[in-house]
Symmetry: C2
DNA sequence: GCCATGGATTGACATTTGTCGATATAGATG
DNA sequence: CATCTATATCGACAAATGTCAATCCATGGC
C-alpha cells in the first residue's frame, strides 16, 4: 500500500530536464499514471481543493460530504484513493478523521507532466 | 511557488488568491478532470513522451504502434482521446497521420494541478 | 481502373470505476 | 454498559474504459 510517487525516477537532477530526453518506459509511465488517475475525477479534485483551502489545511469527512453532494461512503472511498496515491494524509483525532495534503505531492504530480 | 496563472475560469480576480481561496466548483473540476483523465493512462503517457521526443516533435502511428506493443486500432483510439483532450494535434500528410504536441497544453495541465 | 498500404471506425468483451445502501468499528457520552 | 456519532468497509450494480479482430476509408502507385 506504499504507492508513494517516485519523486525523481527519471534523472538525478532535481528539475528542468532539457528537451530531447528519452521517452518513458512502461514502469515509469505506470507509476505516473497511478497518481494522475487519482487526480482524474472531478469529485476528487474538489476534495483536494477543499482540504487545501480548509482551516489549517485540513478537513474532516463531515466537512466534505455536504459540499460535494455525495454520500458519506462515496466520499470516504475517494479519500482512500487519494491517500493510497500519496496525495492526502489521514490523521485520526477522537472520532474524526482529518485529511491534509501531503506536502509536495501536488507539485510532484505537476512536475511529472512536464517531465514527459 | 504561488498559484500563478489561474486562468480567468477561476474567479473574477486575475490571479494569486491567498491561501484561503475558494475551492473549485463542479464545472471547473469537471473541465480539469477531463484533461487529467486523458493523462491517466500509462500508454497515453508514453505516446505523448514518444511524440515529444520524436523527430521534429512529431510522429506517425506506424512509429507508435511498435514501441507500445499495442495493436494499431488501440493506438489510434488512445491518440483520439489525446486529440479530443486538446493535448495532441493531428496533421494528415499523404497517407500518414502525424501527431504533435499542442503547444502549451502540457504546461496548462500541469498548472491546473497547482491551481487546486 | 485496380490494388496495396496507413490509419480510422465498429463491435464485442472483460475489467475497472463511481455510486449507493447496509453494516461494521471505534471513540465519546450518558 | 448502552447508545450515539463519525468513519470505514462490504456488496451490489450500472456505466465507463482498454483492448482486440474485423472492417471501412483514403491516398498513392501500377
Amino acid at each position: 500500500m506504499e504507492t508513494l510517487l517516485a519523486p525523481e525516477t527519471r534523472t538525478g537532477a532535481p528539475c528542468c530536464e532539457p528537451a530531447g530526453g528519452p521517452a518513458l518506459d512502461a514502469i515509469e509511465a505506470q507509476a505516473t499514471a497511478r497518481v494522475l488517475k487519482a487526480l482524474s475525477d472531478p469529485n476528487r479534485l474538489r476534495l483536494l481543493s477543499i482540504v487545501k483551502s480548509g482551516e489549517g489545511g485540513e478537513a474532516c469527512v463531515c466537512d466534505l460530504t455536504e459540499p460535494l453532494d455525495l454520500g458519506q461512503p462515496t466520499v470516504s472511498h475517494h479519500l482512500k484513493i487519494l491517500v493510497d496515491a500519496g496525495l492526502l494524509n489521514r490523521e485520526k483525532r477522537g472520532t474524526w478523521s482529518y485529511y491534509s495534503l501531503v506536502p509536495g505531492a501536488l507539485e510532484a504530480a505537476s512536475q511529472s507532466i512536464l517531465a514527459l
